[in-house]
Symmetry: C2
């Protein structure tokens, strides 16, 4: 078996993107089978956007693409791990990783610095 | 806001466990609000087992607990990242990480070595 099991969870599997060099976890998004095949075909991360209900070529608007170094699956074949080279910022809020907040007791602290201003990347109307 | 948003995806959010020291992604499981609160209370990872439909105190059978170093949430507050110290093997198949298989073209290769024999940990009837 060399494929994730897309018969599970209505064909939508979580995919973790990890920076190949630093090991930082960048984000989690979802893939359907078509997104997975497009990821293989293009060599860059393609997800399925649940909010937009369509394939999401990561970086299609921002240019912040994720170039695939390797693809891994877990023991149950229902989670995908992508090791990637991230161009620009993984997070649409301009941070290098979507996990820029740490929960610390009753507070949340920002632990990363913004790489880019989201308004510069996506336009100020977003 | 210092909590994940458990109003999303029927109250079950993906939680990534990452080794604090090596940066290796160990596994992905799910948390409901009670699992999250139990994780905070105990200082060790507690998930919600979808197959067993109950709280899953990671390591309850194997002893392979995950001690929490820090808890992070993503930009949408619907994914949790745990940085942990893993005792023993994260994976029930005896590998240090559940992501022990890499997809390489039409093949899958095992990229990690087993730490423990699952039969020794869970009994031979599992």
């Amino acid at each position: 078996m060399s494929r994730p099991d897309f018969t599970k969870t209505n064909g939508l599997l979580p995919a973790i993107a990890q920076d190949s060099e630093t090991g930082d976890v960048l984000m989690l998004a979802y893939m359907n089978e078509q997104a997975f095949d497009e990821t293989l075909r293009t060599g860059t991360a393609v997800y399925y956007s649940r909010s937009r209900d369509r394939l999401w070529y990561k970086g299609e608007e921002s240019g912040h693409v994720q170039t695939i170094d390797s693809i891994h699956i877990d023991c149950d074949a229902d989670t995908i791990l992508l090791k990637v080279q991230q161009t620009g910022a993984a997070c649409h809020e301009g941070y290098p990783s979507c996990f820029f907040r740490q929960i610390d007791g009753d507070e949340t602290k920002i632990t990363l610095e913004r790489l880019v201003n989201p308004d510069d990347v996506y336009g100020s109307n977003e």
